[in-house]
Amino acid sequence: MDLTNIYASLPADLVATFSMVLVALVALALVVWDAFRNNAPGIPWAGVVALGVAIVWELFALGDAPGTAWYGMVRTGGFAAFVNIVVLIGALLSIILSVPYLREIRHAHGEVYAIILFATVGMMLLGTANNLVAVFVGLETMSISLYILTGLVREDEGATESALKYFLLGAFSTGFFLYGIALLYGATGTMDLARMSEGLAAGENLVMFWAGVGLLLVGFLFKVSAAPFHMWTPDVYQGAPTTLTAYMSTATKAATFASLILVLYAALPPERWTMVLAVIAVLTMVVGNVLAIAQQNVKRMLAYSSIAHAGYVLVGLAAGTPAGYAGALFYLLVYSIMNIGAFGVMALLEWDGKEGQTQTLNSLAGIGPRKPLLGATMVVFMFALVGFPPLGGFWGKVAVFAPAVEAGLTWLVIVGVLASAVSAYYYLRVLYVFWMRSPEDEPEAAAVQDRVFAVPVTSAAVLIVCVVLLLYFGVRPGGILETTASFFAGPGASMALLP
């Protein structure tokens, strides 16, 4: 290998992946800061500033043509910028929500924010990876950070138990994922996603190839909590601190789905995926929505609902068309905003912080009139999660369902719409209990409601920003949909044919 001028592209690469580098460096700086000034109050806000700068940087990169950096390891350009923006927004909003929440549960360690930033770097690497090595490193950076965040409240048995479950099952799925990578590598002779299909054409290891793809899919579907690999999700989401659940349930899904889209779109021969993904989408939507109905705990209900939403995104992927992938990206953005909002409201409604694990919906009876801001924003989030126009959730569902109809998967879309109709029951029941019941109806509500802590200004601002964004996506979805579609269309379109 010629090593002359091997570092010539270094400055350009640093600029192309500036946001990822920035977040990583700030995360390291926060570790040093926390080592010298234990739990300094400025730590989360330094993280927020870094994430904000990174978001602005990526906004300017949205229109860029696709390319690669770091010797073909990482993808740059519009698609990468969009994925990074979704992940960064998720991290930003979650950190702001976490500051008062973690203080309330007495776990406002400075490391938490450094670990959130490390997980964010992992997600950005995963979502933009152009090489299976980078996919693996990104996925594991993300997962290991999330195991720690899940078990953050280590005096609490439930949190530690859910961390152990998440860790054991996550490591188990990593094994399958890695075996899939190894078999794909053996079948195609390359780790580079863009060269994979041509490598396959040259070789004749079809059996190895499909076995590898299957194992890889198992790993991906586990991380996005699609049925039948969803078992860990409710336990982990219920046990983890609520604002960190908000982060885990949104940014993780966005990054993993983005990586899955890249693998499906750039690396694999098309057309055979439809049936497999469609069946998994049906399973996921049915399991998520049906089991959510029975839940008394709102966090657990939202966990099942996040499984259902993974199913909706899979409908877009099952379509297998550029429009389907573009719709899935848009859906991930909308889903992140509305889910962070819903978990944010729940975090502010926990009486002493840790009761998210056991708190029942009925104990929240009549909370709407008492906490009008939380009640009102929850109305928006719940209607958006159902998919009511004119909120973002509606256009998100249209964006994934319409391409599926065009691809001839009408039956799948019918299941999806029926599942959404079922979901209306449990989402709207939250609103019914919030607004239509009064604490006097529910003995368990009257006893605890006086302990609600005040809503901090920053958290209120996050909730209002989420509401505004959802209204904006609902009223003017066109621009963003066109942007996501442009990643898969036009002259530089075929990302598989990158230099």
């Binding site: 594991e140 078999l183 839940q295």
Partner: protein, 101 residues
């Protein structure tokens, strides 16, 4: 008899399956962790064998990352298990069932 690539692939497949069975059948959290490590190392064997057979270095590079990740995972896993042991004084995964319907 010549040792071909298929021998390595078969050996690592067997090791991988032993790891999977270990995870599924054992109930001790630490043994499950060891089984996961066995799975990862079985994959490492596959990667190195394929890399050698194809004369391509990418597989061996991934092996380095897998080793580093396995170490990090072991550290985190043991930390979580110790934290839980302090609470429950057992590492039997059948005893962990706080969250149910």
């Amino acid at each position: 008899m010549e040792i071909t690539l298929n021998w390595y692939l078969s050996l690592s497949a067997v090791l991988f399956v032993i790891g999977v069975l270990g995870v599924l059948m054992r109930r001790n959290a630490i043994v499950i962790l060891m089984s996961v490590e066995l799975m990862l190392n079985a994959v490492n064997l596959t990667l190195v064998a394929l890399s050698q057979a194809m004369g391509d270095v990418a597989g061996q590079i991934l092996v380095f990352f897998v080793m580093a990740v396995a170490a990090a995972e072991a550290a985190i896993g043991l930390a979580i298990i110790i934290a839980l042991f302090r609470k429950k004084v057992t590492v039997d995964v059948n005893e962990f069932h706080l969250f149910k319907y």
